[in-house]
């Protein structure tokens, strides 16, 4: 450990860490404030039940937002995440049931479904050289068609023990869903972020030419990003099944989750131009977005106004990036 002196944190290190995490930290701060206001004004106050309910709803969007993050980091976009999410919900309502072994196999099946959907997107975008947006709109339609095929009417069932366990509370009133989300972050996001794969994904999103000049495997990284997005959407779909106990091919759900995942990603400080941000930020972005809805509710805003309000929040948040235009001095740079 002779290198201790060299690589021990120097004063000033925190500044760079902070700079990198600024988006996520800001989202965290906003979320804490909003959640405090929410619980303070909630008739039941800050109770374990209020938190658990809020967590279950928030975790669903958070998972889909993480999925979106993977793709957005490569400077792409996935408009099929909501459909993969709904498709996996329908698949789960068939196969995640029965004995523990059957349930486990079912869970694996659901995850494999999502992974396959994401991988398909990736293959088409990379080897078909199609725009991510058109690709994912079209595959999204196909995925939703599959969902509808599986569940023309809402129905199905799920292993209730598992569902109740994952949507309930741990001792001490800790919401199980939040713990599950934490596990996802620890098992999937952190390793990704620290691996060569994650490094390349960030590099590709930040500057594809520079990544190419540095001899990185660009295609492999993009493919992985889309596949991981499918996997995360599948985890989200699985969780939706645990919350609702049924499978439903709801096009409203699919569209809303796709849209909200983008809002969450933007609110969480992930750059739509790629290369910057983290899933942690996206999670807090998702929680913020959910809490806005809840806040409107406790403040007795007519629920009818809620979609409009959320839409405007989304629109304003995507416009925040336009502040960079003020600094541009050479108008040719506008056309980047």
């Amino acid at each position: 450990m002779t290198d201790r002196a060299l690589s021990a944190p120097q004063p000033g290190d925190w500044r760079y860490w902070f700079g990198e995490q600024r988006g996520a930290l800001l989202a965290l701060a906003v979320f804490i404030v909003m959640f405090a206001i929410y619980t303070a004004n909630h008739p039941a106050g800050f109770s374990a039940d209020v938190v658990t309910t809020a967590a279950s709803k928030g975790v669903l969007l958070a998972l889909v937002a993480i999925a979106q993050t993977f793709v957005v980091l490569t400077a792409g976009i996935d408009l099929s995440v909501g459909m993969i999410f709904v498709l996996c919900n329908c698949v789960a309502s068939y196969i995640v049931i029965g004995s523990p072994l059957e349930t486990a196999l079912g869970v694996a099946g659901v995850l494999a479904t999502g992974l396959a959907c994401g991988a398909l997107n990736g293959l088409i975008v990379i080897y078909g050289r199609l725009q991510p947006i058109v690709t994912t709109i079209a595959t999204g339609a196909a995925f939703f068609g599959l969902a509808l095929l599986l569940r023309p009417q809402p129905g199905g069932d799920v292993n209730e023990d598992l569902a109740d366990f994952l949507t309930g509370q741990f001792p001490g009133g800790i919401p199980a869903s939040a713990v599950a989300l934490l596990v996802v972050v620890l098992v999937i996001w952190i390793p990704f972020r620290r691996s060569m794969l994650g490094r390349v994904v960030y590099a590709v999103g930040s500057s594809e030419p520079a990544a190419y000049m540095s001899g990185l495997h660009i295609r492999r990284a993009k493919f992985a990003a889309y596949a991981l997005a499918g996997l995360l959407a599948a985890i989200g779909g699985l969780f939706l099944t645990f919350v609702t106990y049924t499978g439903e091919a709801s096009s409203a759900n699919a569209n809303t989750y796709t849209l909200n995942s983008i809002a969450a990603v933007v609110l969480g400080g992930v750059s739509l131009f790629g290369g910057r941000g983290s899933a942690v930020g996206a999670i807090f972005g998702a929680l913020i977005f959910r809490t806005i809805g809840d806040l409107l509710f406790v403040f007795d805003l007519d629920p009818l106004w809620q979609p409009l309000f959320l839409g405007i929040v989304l629109l304003v948040s995507v416009c925040l990036g336009s502040f960079r235009l003020i600094r541009i001095r050479n108008r040719l740079d506008l056309f980047g």
Binding site: L130, G145, L259, L272, G311, V318, R331
Partner: protein, 322 residues
């Protein structure tokens, strides 16, 4: 291979994508006639054209936006805005009823202009900004209608415009399509605006350095797209006598698909209206065949997605060089 086509003056006249699209139309007609004897009857085909004209209006606006290298994802709820606001105006009676359709179009125009400002001046990526406008438009409509289906009915003239056959026994919406289509061809081929649209789609910097006010062109294109989507919404409301939530949802993918399958490059700068017409007919026939064989909605979606991806993969290979 592209060069070979580009260098041959005879082949160049026919965009291979447009030819492919017309070939597919032929195949679909053949399949349709095998499935159902009546498929090729003039009456049935006219009906298809009538249904297709709603999609045609939307695709026309979408095409202009796509030619710029942008995309308009706010189409679903701007259609709904057009439908709901025109029926609402009809409900006010008097002048409102007289100008029901223009009022609907005006509302679409406003949303289109906001799209244009966001994309051209704030330079937010169009797919994100228009997605946001879609959400806002939805929010407005939910506030307006209380989340339920509005009770306002379309005026008789709206219904007539959407379903009647005033001239030559051809459905009125088809005439509307012909008028809008002719105007679009004129706009794209003969006007400065049209040249600018293609130029921006090809290379925005070069267009800017040629002294074209690119931002205004983008703004105008989104305004046109919003107006046409709202117009289609008003006609759809007239067709089914009322407007309803989600009436625009089934039109997003088909409108983009029609444009792209008609040979317009999704990256912008290349495409003809003839191709878009072919794309619209193609999509409409595909839908009609799926409905003739009474296929489930689920399969329809699946086949849409698959067919579109498959065709895009064929087209997409050609334009890696830009």
């Amino acid at each position: 291979m592209t060069n070979l086509l580009a260098n041959n003056p005879v082949l160049r006249r026919f965009d291979p994508a447009v030819l492919t699209a017309f070939g597919c139309i032929f195949v679909l007609l053949l399949i349709g006639s095998i499935i159902n004897r009546n498929f090729l009857s003039p009456e049935y085909l006219l009906q298809q054209l009538q249904v297709g004209s709603f999609l045609a209006l939307i695709s026309t606006g979408m095409m202009i936006v796509i030619l710029l290298g942008q995309i308009d994802l706010s189409v679903p709820w701007i259609i709904t805005v057009g439908g709901m606001m025109s029926t609402a105006a009809a409900g006010w009676g008097g002048l409102g009823a007289t100008f029901a359709i223009p009022i609907g179009i005006l509302c679409g125009l406003v949303f289109g202009l906001i799209n244009g400002i966001g994309v051209a001046y704030l330079r937010v990526p169009s797919m994100i900004f228009t997605l946001g406008i879609n959400a806002v438009a939805q929010g407005f409509m939910i506030v307006r209608t209380g989340g339920a289906a509005p009770l306002d009915m379309a005026t008789d003239s709206m219904h007539e415009l959407a379903t009647g056959r005033l001239i030559l026994g051809i459905p009125n919406p088809v005439w509307v399509w012909i008028a809008v289509g002719a105007a679009t061809v004129f706009l794209l081929r003969r006007t400065v605006f049209g040249r600018a649209v293609y130029a921006i789609g090809n290379r925005e910097v070069a267009a800017y350095l040629s002294g074209i006010r690119t931002q205004r062109v983008v703004l105008a294109a989104f305004a046109i797209s919003g107006s046409l989507a709202a117009f289609a919404g008003a006609l759809l409301a007239g067709y089914s006598t009322k407007a309803y939530q989600g009436m625009g949802d089934p039109y997003l993918l088909p409108s983009i698909a029609a444009v792209v399958l008609g040979g317009t490059s999704i990256l912008g700068g290349r495409g003809t209206y003839l191709g878009t017409v072919a794309g619209i007919i193609l999509i409409t026939l595909l839908q009609s065949i799926l409905s003739v064989v009474q296929i489930e909605e689920a399969f329809r979606q699946l086949i849409y997605g698959t067919v579109i991806i498959a065709m895009l993969l064929v087209y997409g290979r050609q334009r890696a060089q830009t």
